[in-house]
């Protein structure tokens, strides 16, 4: 029995796990303060991405479209970008950063977005907005390459490449969180705070979780500033927590400014959080404080209450963003669970060289499958037609009907989780995330035991 890595055998996608690259770039765009991205393509490429963000966060985020119509598709649509930038800047006086995000259509028709930006920089911006700081950033994210994950990776790099300057090196680190939730950013900043380490956080999205105020003034937006982005060039190290969501930027900074890049591990679970803290210690010389040892102990205590009594042997399928899936699988193993199927929703050729996947292949002592370029049918077909038995599913909301139709309990984790309330508020990373994940998994199993009357009396005494 071994861990097998394979690509989905079919060419098509039945129920996709991921959306396409422009969504990743749009997620980066909303993390930056005073920034509104323009997606160069059909209107649906923006409208639906805004919708999925609003489904996940129950908040609205601003993104614009160049509104490609038939004439543009035939004759080229660079003029639509020029007009969009003009209209956007004219009506949003605070906007300083405007990513221009390409899509399949505008990449196929071959619109020269970089050329348009040069033209706008030399023309419109000088003539019409001479006293205004405006950054137009090209992001090439054709939908037929990669996925939302690579789109995020590309966009973080493009932003960093645009802004990073080596001016006055300082003691800060760059923290590239990857595509995470506000709850994760809060937890990560908490860990850094306890370590007394300052960071440029890409991206400061705690503010996505915004209030309703009596005067109606609150809006949800990211808070990473231009200054933070410039300052990434001055940092002493870059931590890209997710290998597939930020590495490109970390490598750019390393190459350009010789800032050491520490790639991963995604700090999910106790062990990966330990590694993260030790890496921080190595990079900064700051000790890991007692307070974190205490927190770690609280987490271990919580996990000890659950692992061998309830979680051990539980067979789990996990799907979604690769770093999340791998991190969850690692944590599940520490919890004595059996991740039997990992689904990665794109065809990134780097997966086979991922040291974490290699470690799984070398060490897992039961049957585990890792499927790349996967869709939900890879999961459902195994359950429906091939006898796969599962105790738990971990993944985002788009897989909800598999859980519902096959009566398998499911913990919503990742993006998007629109069919459960407020999950974006809680961390999956750090010691806090370890507690949250393990306890939510346990409670999900408990509710299922009661729902199915499957040894529900066990919980009479615990």
């Amino acid at each position: 029995m071994t861990c097998e890595v394979k690509e989905k055998g079919r060419v098509g996608t039945i129920n996709p796990i991921f959306t396409c690259q422009p969504a990743g770039a749009q997620f980066v765009s909303i993390g930056i303060k005073d920034c509104i991205g323009i997606v160069h393509g059909g209107q649906g490429c923006v409208m639906f991405v805004r919708l999925i963000f609003s489904q996940h966060y129950k908040e609205s985020f601003e993104l614009a479209s160049s509104s490609l119509h038939e004439d543009g598709a035939v004759f080229g649509a660079c003029g639509r970008v020029e007009e969009a930038v003009d209209v956007l800047l004219s009506r949003y006086p605070d906007v300083k950063v405007v990513p221009i995000i390409t899509t399949c259509s505008t990449e196929i028709i071959g619109d020269d977005v970089d050329g348009v930006i040069k033209k706008l920089n030399e023309g419109l911006l000088k003539e019409k907005f001479p006293d205004r700081e405006v950054h137009l950033i090209a992001m090439h994210t054709p939908s037929f390459v990669g996925s939302m994950i690579s789109g995020y990776d590309v966009a973080v790099r493009d932003v960093v490449r645009h802004f990073a300057k080596r001016e006055a090196p300082n003691d800060k680190i760059n923290l590239l969180t990857g595509w995470v939730n506000p709850g994760d950013v809060k937890e990560l900043k908490h860990l850094l705070g306890e370590m007394d380490i300052e960071a440029n956080v890409l991206f400061e999205i705690e503010s996505f979780d915004s209030p309703i105020l009596p005067d109606g003034s609150a809006v949800s937006h990211g808070n990473t500033t231009i200054e933070d982005l410039i300052d990434t060039g001055n940092a002493r190290a870059t931590f890209a927590l997710n290998r597939y969501e930020g590495t490109k930027a970390a490598e750019y900074l390393q190459k350009k400014f010789e800032i050491p890049a520490i790639i991963g591990p995604t700090p999910i679970g106790i062990r990966n959080t330990d590694i993260f803290l030790q890496n921080l210690k190595k990079a900064t010389g700051k000790p890991i404080p007692q307070s974190l040892a205490h927190e770690r102990g609280v987490a271990i205590d919580a996990l000890a209450d659950l692992t061998h009594m309830f979680l051990a042997e539980k067979r789990v399928a996990i799907y979604g963003a690769p770093d999340l899936v791998i991190g969850l699988a690692e944590f599940c193993l520490d919890l004595e669970m059996k991740p039997v199927l990992l689904l990665l929703g794109d065809d990134n050729s780097k997966y086979v060289d991922d040291p974490r996947i290699k470690a799984l292949q070398e060490n897992v002592d039961y049957g585990m499958e890792i499927v790349t370029n996967a869709d939900f049918w890879e999961l459902e077909n195994r359950i429906k037609n091939e006898g796969l038995e599962l105790d738990l599913i971990l993944g985002h909301s788009k897989g909800r009907f598999i859980s519902i139709d096959y009566n398998i309990p499911m913990l919503r984790v990742g993006f998007p989780t629109y069919d459960r309330a407020g999950l974006f508020r809680y961390p999956t990373v750090g010691y806090g995330g370890a507690i949250w994940l393990a306890e939510q998994m346990a409670n999900t199993l408990f509710a299922d035991m009661e729902h199915k009357k499957n040894k529900e009396w066990v919980l009479n005494v615990w």
Partner: protein, 132 residues
């Protein structure tokens, strides 16, 4: 900043028709506008037919005249006319005391008004688009 826009066909401004019973026609028109859907087919030729057929049958019903129901299309216009005639009698009881001639004139005025509002005086630039 210019936006691509459909070639705007400049329509000759048509004057609203005038009728001695204008105040009453106002009421009857408003009722149709607020409660009916048949007057707003998307093209002018469909609107002309709808206005003509349904208002003709409404007039016939209000005047107690026989209504042609020989085709399924006739029946379809007729059902809209029945509801409209019933509502008119209920909401505008003055119509019940009018003579056939007066009703005929009133309904002709209403038809002219409806044609004006939905066709000849309409600002809808898609009304004559052959391809929907």
């Amino acid at each position: 900043m210019s936006t691509a826009s459909a070639a705007a066909v400049v329509k000759q401004k048509v004057e609203a028709p005038v009728h001695p019973m204008d105040a009453r026609i106002d009421e009857l028109t408003d009722y149709i506008m607020k409660n009916c859907l048949w007057q707003f087919h998307s093209r002018s030729w469909d609107r002309e037919r709808q206005n003509a057929e349904i208002l003709k049958k409404t007039k016939e019903l209000l005047c107690g005249e026989p209504v042609d129901l020989s085709t399924s299309h006739d029946r379809c216009y007729w059902v809209d006319a029945v509801c409209l005639a019933d509502d008119y009698r209920e909401h505008y009881p003055w119509i019940n005391s009018m003579s056939k001639e007066e009703i005929g004139s009133l309904m002709q005025g209403l038809k002219d008004r409806m044609d004006y509002l939905t066709i000849t005086g309409s600002l809808n630039e898609e009304l004559s688009d052959k391809h929907y």
